[in-house]
């Protein structure tokens, strides 16, 4: 099933067939992000896809006619377009190349959204450089998620090709207003043959002698039938160009569309460089394009890495998940349901009741769960340590009673450790921010797939750890060697990574497999983190002779101390207001 957010995404999705996908226009990114998180909870792997125009070409298309309409003759228009190609055209006192940069916050959000899917679908590899720039410039930088290409089904009319001695050219932009073809038509102003432009309609560009058609209009098929070459205007989607190549037309397509990746002999063109178009058309007349092999279609749903061959499926090691709990019956039941949904088959849950009301009935509902009772409330860390020492599994994970893991969490982390030989593995963690509404129902007002979606090296751990206990699985020998959590510290889950990373390399499953649920009653809102960190920095793990780390430690304490009391330790990267209506949902395609 496809969930499509935004009109372009809906149209594009119709050409993709049956596939598990969340696809969005960049303008609808926020809603798509929330929708993708809902999908994560189901445990069904899905693709993510973001339709964002190349910002440089998009700028040129939007404003090309406006720029040229102000200029008196062909030479001055050509000179302006030359400056546009170079990025030096003055626009409201700025260079054009400064105007068309999209903002950094949006870039980071794009990567956060895309990383929610198991695999990112792209229209062509030409998009990869842009994605890579976003991923690396995000803070923290993160690896590019797994990517695959997908080619949509084109929507060309039935074309009956006929011989045309004059040689016709069609500027093909069925999903764009005619004005956005202004640059291409300016480049072809001196063309002597039959020149046509197929667009979605609207006012026509000035100074063009082309015949204009609306997409779907009678006459389009005939014009295409007489054409020798097609100038495909879309700067991002190669599907129409490839469909024309299949029919043996000469094709000129923007380099940014990646059409040349699918079809040989495509004349790749900088979509803003009008001056190059006459030569491109001449070349395309003599060079029909060919699709020699159809591109491989992605599977219906992305696949997680398989279990390595050397693992005996019948003798998978036991994994113990330890949960401290105190008077949260409903949360505990939900948490145990998360464990019941795990696809890894050999799990025990060790529930430590930290002196709270009886929960025997809830634990009894889950045959894989075992209950341990603390005689009195002694705090979560002591409960964790009690559960850990009583765990029987070869591998141990933690899961607070109000947090969640997704169905593939244990499976993916175990596979990572089997495969790599590491004794510690972790996934990415999604922060979900909850508020209780007037009706008493929790609702999600914010998300963050950035802060807890990174790994750490020993030097990182000396400063701060953004890796929560329930994102990880640890071989029990690691605890035997290094020891467990220090008690009576608000940052013991940070501290343990200083000891772990000194000896162990972590395998990082770069997929969201765990969720932190932040709300006003949560313990992490009440802690005195600066004091706790100071204790760790100065007394437990002091460092000397590393001035950069010392300064980063001071900066970290100052940063945390500047937070408003009672607010989340890490802010949401995406927020939404609660509206009386239901938030805009996707179109199921």
């Amino acid at each position: 099933m496809i969930d499509a957010y935004g009109p372009t995404a809906e149209r594009y999705a119709r050409g993709l067939g049956d596939i598990e996908l969340v696809i969005t226009d960049v303008q609808h990114l926020g809603n798509a992000y929330f929708g993708a998180v809902q999908r994560l909870e189901t445990g069904v792997p899905f693709y993510s896809m973001l339709l964002v125009d190349d910002p440089r070409v998009d700028f040129g298309y939007r404003y090309g006619e406006q720029i040229m309409a102000q200029l008196a003759n062909g030479e001055t228009r050509s000179a302006a377009l030359e400056q546009l190609v170079q990025g030096s055209l003055p626009v409201n006192g700025m260079r054009a190349d400064a105007v068309w940069q999209i903002d950094r916050a949006l870039e980071g959000m794009c990567i956060e959204f895309l990383a929610l899917g198991t695999t990112v679908l792209i229209r062509s590899f030409a998009e990869v450089a842009r994605l890579q720039r976003w991923a690396v410039s995000a803070f923290p930088p993160r690896p590019l998620p797994p990517i695959e290409r997908i080619l949509a089904t084109a929507s060309l009319p039935e074309i009956d090709r006929v011989a045309s001695p004059a040689g016709g050219v069609v500027v093909w932009a069925p999903h764009r207003p005619a004005l956005e073809c202004a640059i291409a038509l300016h480049g072809l102003a001196g063309f002597q043959g039959e020149l046509s432009c197929v667009s979605s309609g609207g006012p026509l560009p000035s100074h063009s002698a082309a015949n204009f058609f609306r997409a779907g209009e009678a006459g389009v098929a005939a014009v295409l039938g007489r054409a020798s070459a097609i100038v495909c205007v879309d700067p991002n989607d190669p599907s129409d160009a490839v469909a024309f190549a299949r029919l043996g037309f000469g094709i000129i397509a923007p380099l940014t569309s990646g059409a040349h990746e699918f079809a040989s002999n495509v004349v790749a063109w900088d979509a803003l460089d009008a001056q190059l178009l006459p030569a491109a058309v001449t070349a395309a007349f003599a060079r029909p394009a060919i699709v020699r092999a159809e591109p491989v279609r992605p599977l219906r749903r992305p696949q997680a890495p398989p279990r390595p061959d050397f693992i005996d499926e019948k003798r998978l090691p036991l994994v113990s998940i330890v949960t401290p709990t105190y008077n949260r019956r409903d949360d505990l039941r939900k948490m145990l349901s998360c464990l019941a949904a795990q696809t890894y088959p050999n799990i025990e849950a060790v529930i430590v009741n930290d002196g709270g009301a009886a929960i025997d009935d809830i634990v009894a509902e889950f045959p894989f769960a075992r209950l341990i009772k603390q005689p009195a409330n002694a705090g979560a860390l002591r409960a964790v340590e009690r559960g850990r020492t009583e765990a029987r599994g070869e591998y141990i994970g933690l899961l607070p009673d109000d947090d969640w893991i997704y169905p593939d969490h244990v499976d993916r982390l175990m596979n990572a450790m089997f495969r790599s030989g590491t004794l510690v593995a972790h996934g990415a963690g999604l922060l979900r921010y909850l508020e209780r509404g007037d009706d008493g129902v929790w609702w999600t007002y914010g998300l963050n797939n950035r802060t807890f979606s990174q790994t750490m090296c020993p030097t990182d751990a000396l400063v701060s750890a953004t890796l929560g206990g329930h994102q990880m699985l640890v071989h029990r020998s690691v605890y035997d060697t290094v020891g467990g959590y220090i008690l009576d510290s608000d940052v013991s889950d940070n501290e343990i990574h200083i000891r772990f990373t000194k000896l162990y390399f972590y395998a990082f499953v770069d997929q969201v497999t765990a969720e932190f649920r932040d709300h006003a009653g949560g313990q992490n809102r009440q802690c005195d983190f600066p004091a706790a960190l100071r204790e760790i920095y100065d007394k437990v793990h002091p460092i000397t002779g590393r001035p950069v780390i010392s300064r980063q430690r001071e900066d970290t304490i100052a940063h945390i101390a500047s937070r408003e009391p009672g607010q989340p330790p890490f802010p949401p990267t995406l927020r939404r207001m609660r509206s009386p209506g239901i938030p805009a949902g996707p179109a199921a395609v």
Binding site: P143, A268, F310, R419, G421, C457, F508
Partner: protein, 159 residues
């Protein structure tokens, strides 16, 4: 631009039988480059805890590296590759070795400029100059085996 087609060369990687690793292992693969040209890679992995091997064409090793340096024909290369979960391919232009490692199911880190990600799924693409990112890339690659879904189309014998 004249008509273009891609061609993938035959790789030069040894055939090894992979075993279940007892600890994390990463191989920096640069068989055609002198060892000193792996300095950035090894700097990026300076804090890696595990078996770190660098296969290069030889010469003086970079300073401050605890990696084991081997020449391509050294019999110990096969052992290192059989135990490794991930291979960091240093070549910034030629994806053929990275694709061969993907075919064998290794986690693969390859410079984005090599285009290895165009042939193989799940390659961890990396800016070859960005050493600070390599530790994370290796942590991801050991958990993310690459694969080649369909072998790339070979161009005809003559255009």
């Amino acid at each position: 631009v004249p008509p273009v087609e891609r061609i993938l060369a035959s790789a030069r990687i040894p055939s090894v039988e992979r075993v279940r690793p007892e600890g994390p292992g990463v191989v920096v693969w640069a068989p055609l480059r002198p060892a000193v040209e792996c300095a950035l890679h090894l700097h990026g992995l300076a804090e890696f805890h595990g078996e770190l091997t660098c296969v290069s064409s030889g010469g003086p090793p970079p300073s401050k590296s605890t990696a084991t340096f081997l020449a391509p024909g050294d019999p110990r290369v096969s052992g290192a590759l059989s135990r490794a979960a991930a291979v960091l391919c240093a070549d910034p232009s030629d994806p053929s070795d990275a694709v061969a490692f993907a075919r064998a199911g290794y986690g693969v880190v390859a410079p984005i400029t090599s285009g290895a990600h165009e042939f193989a799924r799940d390659v961890v693409a990396w800016d070859a100059m960005d050493a600070r990112f390599l530790y994370t890339a290796a942590a991801v690659a050991v958990a993310r085996p690459a694969s080649v879904l369909a072998e790339p189309e070979r161009p005809p014998r003559a255009p």
